[in-house]
């Protein structure tokens, strides 16, 4: 057991837990955040994605010890209905999610990517989103939403 301090969505937190425990369980169970999802536990789908100091990481395999002193941002911290991230607004406007279980991966990965490359082409976007899964197969709408967000972010 260890006492690990880090920040989540702008708030300082301390979690007393097994340092090898994945961050996902600290967020969901210790901090009661129902926002990143368990999809595979293997970093193969993206449902658990959060930003760690601005970079997308799969919280299901990220040991808690590795987040000490760092900043975690979840989808809930990315934006709110009042102050949405352009991707969130576009996701609503394009009616992207069906079951919606996967969207942490898509939005958090795309948000970090567009920050670096706001004018990315379709091919670059598809490359950047490799490895993410969406079982409802909303990929066409995901692309529309990202293009819409790009026009907002430009």
């Amino acid at each position: 057991m260890a006492s690990i301090k880090f920040a989540v969505d702008g708030r300082s937190v301390t979690v007393n837990a097994d340092p090898s425990m994945p961050l996902l369980y600290a967020l969901r169970n210790d901090l009661g955040m129902s926002n990143p999802h368990f999809g595979c536990g293997l970093a193969q789908c993206g449902a658990c994605t959060v930003h760690l100091d601005g970079e997308p990481v799969r919280s299901c395999v990220m040991p808690l010890s590795a987040v000490t002193g760092r900043k975690v941002t979840t989808l809930r911290g990315l934006g709110t209905p009042e102050k949405p991230h352009p991707l969130q607004a576009a996701y609503v406007e394009e009616q992207v999610p069906q079951c919606g279980y996967c969207i942490n991966g898509w939005i958090m990965t795309a948000a970090a990517f567009l920050k670096k490359k706001p004018k990315a082409t379709d091919a670059e976007i598809r490359d950047a989103l490799a490895g993410l899964k969406c079982r409802c197969a909303t990929h066409a709408a995901i692309m529309r939403a990202i293009r819409r967000a790009q026009t907002q972010m430009a």
């Binding site: 009661g32 368990f38 595979c40 209905p81 992207v96 999610p97 969207i103 079982r135």
Partner: protein, 763 residues
């Protein structure tokens, strides 16, 4: 159930409005809110939840908001808003004032949950009637209050007023708000999908609709995108234990012994066991996960080599005894036709086991108490969870409440039904509320599978190329080795692990089309399962059960006949379909898709990338769909890219065009995934597809560039389903496009790069 309903009343107002309020102190906050909202619409004694009570279908709150109680649920395909649109039009209220409560057995009648794309087709019918009847009663009540005959009244956004003098008025809120109708309707005595009611009121004609037919936006989107909606995975109760059920990676195993000391160092973890059902529980989820990995179990093989070698699965199917056959369509003299044939065309098509592979492994939370049982489930059929749990625990069904909460996706009888019964059994055995979620391998290796099958087409052509005899026979594992819902514990893994005998049903299906061949046979044959019980290859319903596999064969075979007759595939279909709506749909897809008639595959095959287009068409329970696929084939890598799809779709009256469009898009891309990538792998003793590497699905690089949808609206025809029809035509359209591009047939799914390269080498 979720927080989608009643956005106008604050929690305080609910409490005020509802008086004595049933908020389970131990329940999650959002469930409490839902109950409060329900209580808010009605004071006084609510009649029992029976389909014969109008109050079971619709309620009007003191503030005039309307709640519709829908015994199905929405998986993000716009059913919630569509139901609201239908109810709003019948009641003459603003659609923004209509809330839809779904899938809670304490609040909704058993309309069968999500099933067979019937959400609108059958699910909306009683809601439409109930709303019309409520309007009739309210207008009648206003007539008495205002002293005016009903003919002189009109309704505008929930206010009944005199046509001649709008000042003479009474609102729904004043007339009934917060009280019950206590009005009987005639129930057809059916439960599940066919449940319907008859009322005195006459529902409106389509020409009177104001919001039906409009593209209104779903209400669940902000909750999902801003992550305020609670999923079934987020349900948390005081003193709740986290559980993981331990399933042997090998099929057909029983438990010989459990070494409980192997997890003694995991804090709070312990073993729960009944016969061959073994689980670990802990207070913290991570400790349950750790314990599940560390627990040592000795397994006993109940059967050696339960599965044939994977490479021989289709031979196994061909050789296996037929336990049930049905000749669903049989007309004319087939033998005679083949005797006089100038030419006989034959082909076989093969389809693998496929997994639901839901986005997350299933989760359920159960709280089994002496005075009642509550189960929160992602199952798309919560009313059947209620029945299954009641039977498993041997308690009366009315003591069980099952509440559907959005889960990690569901396209049929996936692992959610098993999770619900696992949680109930574990809560009973531990005396505590239990949350169970699978690990990834539980969702892929151990979910019920779409069945593997072989499809045989044989046709007789005369000298002119006319089809004079046609037969299409599918042979495979039953589509219902376990049932399509979890109402009988014998159909669940927990039930089988505690020794309940299996209860297989024998079903398959035939192509759904209107080809008017004079001599025609459409038949299916079912073979025995590989294992009687607890099989990771047990089969059940996966989106459009057996539709993609049958149509992959039948619609490719039609193309083969067109090629044999030297005719264009679109023209050939139009020559033989007999239903005018079918012809219209085929024409619409071809026209919008810019179809260029060709009597033979494209001749130019010189480049590194070959292009082709193909068509496929089918019916499904009243809906008709056709698709033109345009693909690219990379000769060197063997990759197929489904670049563009043009879908024409006729499901009668269109309720919400945009919602329908997105639903069709999901069908197209999921269908493409199943065509190109998906195959459950196994060896002689176990399923070896356990994660996304060993069960790949489509990723965004392979998503189409363009999906065009042509909606053919028939306001004069009752709406039929859209959740599944368009997936069944995708595999054949892609394979037909591959033939157009390369001149070679691919008759085995998935159309992998290896198979493409092998086929091109043969070309």
């Amino acid at each position: 159930m979720n927080a989608r309903i009643d956005l106008s009343l604050s929690r305080r107002e609910f409490l005020k409005a509802s008086g004595a309020l049933v908020v389970s102190a131990g329940g999650p906050a959002f469930i409490g809110e839902t109950l409060a909202q329900t209580a808010a619409v009605s004071t006084g004694s609510k009649p029992p939840l029976l389909p014969t009570e109008l109050d079971s279908w619709v309620a009007i709150a003191p503030n005039g908001r309307v709640t519709a109680f829908f015994g199905k649920m929405d998986m993000g395909q716009s059913l919630d808003i569509a139901i609201a649109q239908i109810v709003a039009d019948e009641l003459d209220v603003d659609v923004a004032k209509v809330d839809v409560v779904m899938g809670d057995t304490a609040l909704t009648c058993n309309q069968g949950g999500a099933s067979g794309s019937t959400g609108i087709q059958t699910g909306a019918r009683p809601l439409r009637s109930a709303a019309a009847e409520a309007r009739r009663l309210l207008v009648q009540s206003a007539s008495q209050k205002l002293g005016l005959p009903v003919e002189q009244l009109r309704v505008d956004d929930g206010v009944v007023a005199a046509v001649s003098d709008p000042a003479k008025k009474a609102s729904y809120a004043e007339l009934i708000g917060g009280r019950h109708f206590h009005h009987q309707v005639e129930w057809n005595k059916q439960i599940g999908n066919p449940m319907d009611i008859k009322v005195e009121a006459k529902p409106k004609s389509p020409s009177e609709y104001r919001v039906v037919g409009k593209s209104l936006t779903r209400r669940d989107l902000p909750g999902k995108v801003y992550r305020t909606e609670k999923y079934v995975t987020d349900v948390s109760l005081p003193k709740m234990l986290h559980a993981r059920v331990i399933r042997c990676s090998r099929a057909a195993c029983t438990v010989a012994g459990v070494d409980e000391s192997s997890i003694k160092n995991v804090k709070g973890a312990r073993v729960v066991r009944e016969k061959d059902f073994v689980a670990v529980v802990a207070d913290h989820e991570w400790n349950a996960v750790r314990a599940s990995r560390m627990l040592k179990i000795s397994w006993k093989e109940a059967k050696k080599d339960p599965f044939p070698p994977m490479a021989e699965i289709y031979d196994h199917i061909r050789k296996a005894p037929v336990v049930k056959r049905e000749d669903a369509v049989k007309k004319g003299d087939l033998d005679g036709a083949f005797k006089t044939a100038a030419r006989v065309v034959e082909a076989e098509y093969e389809w693998p086991f496929q997994s639901h592979a839901s986005m997350g492994p299933a989760c359920a939370v159960a709280d089994v108490r002496a005075d009642g049982v509550t189960v929160w489930t992602g199952s798309q059929k919560p009313h059947f969870v209620q029945t299954g749990v009641a039977r498993l625990l041997d308690v009366p069904p009315e003591k069980v409440r099952a509440i559907w909460v959005t889960g990690p996706g569901s396209y049929g009888r996936n692992d959610a039904g098993d999770a619900a019964l696992d949680a109930a059994l574990l809560s009973k055995l531990t005396g505590r509320p239990v949350r169970v979620q699978g690990m990834r391998n539980d969702g892929i290796a151990w979910d019920p599978k779409g069945p593997a099958s072989v499809h045989r087409g044989r046709a007789a052509l005369d000298a002119s190329g006319k089809v004079i005899g046609y037969e299409f026979v599918s042979k495979g594992f039953s589509r219902r080795n376990i049932d399509t819902n979890e109402s009988d514990p014998r159909d669940s893994l927990a039930g089988m692990a505690i020794g309940l005998p299996p209860k297989p049903s024998l079903d398959f299906g035939v192509p759904a089309e209107s080809y008017g061949f004079d001599n025609k046979l459409l038949a299916w044959e079912v073979i025995p399962p590989l294992l009687e019980a607890s099989s990771p290859l047990r089969s059940s319903h996966l989106r459009d059960p057996v539709g993609p596999q049958i149509q992959f064969g039948s619609e490719q075979f039609i193309d083969e006949l067109a090629a044999a007759a030297g005719e264009d595939p679109v023209a050939f279909r139009l020559k033989y379909v007999t239903a005018p709506r079918d012809a219209a749909v085929i024409k619409a897809a071809a026209e919008k898709g810019g179809w260029q008639p060709r009597q033979a595959p494209r001749a130019d095959r010189s480049g590194d990338t070959l292009s082709g287009r193909g068509i496929a068409y089918a019916q499904r329970n009243g809906t008709i769909v056709a698709v033109v696929a345009e693909i690219e084939v990379e000769r060197k890598s063997g990759r197929i890219w489904g670049k563009k799809f043009t879908v024409a779709h006729d499901c009668g009256l269109v309720i919400n065009p945009e919602g329908l469009r997105y639903t069709i898009e999901g069908n197209v891309v999921q269908g493409l995934s199943r065509t190109l990538f998906e195959e459950v792998r196994f060896d002689r003793e176990k399923v070896t597809s356990v994660d996304w590497l060993s069960y790949p699905i489509l990723e965004i690089r392979d998503a189409p560039e363009t999906i065009e949808v042509v909606l053919i609206n028939h306001p004069e025809l009752a709406p039929t389903g859209a959740g599944e029809p368009s997936i069944r035509v995708i595999p054949a359209a892609v394979a037909n496009a591959f033939f157009d591009a390369t001149g070679v047939r691919l008759r085995r799914v998935p159309l992998t790069p290896e198979r493409v390269k092998a086929a091109l080498a043969r070309a």
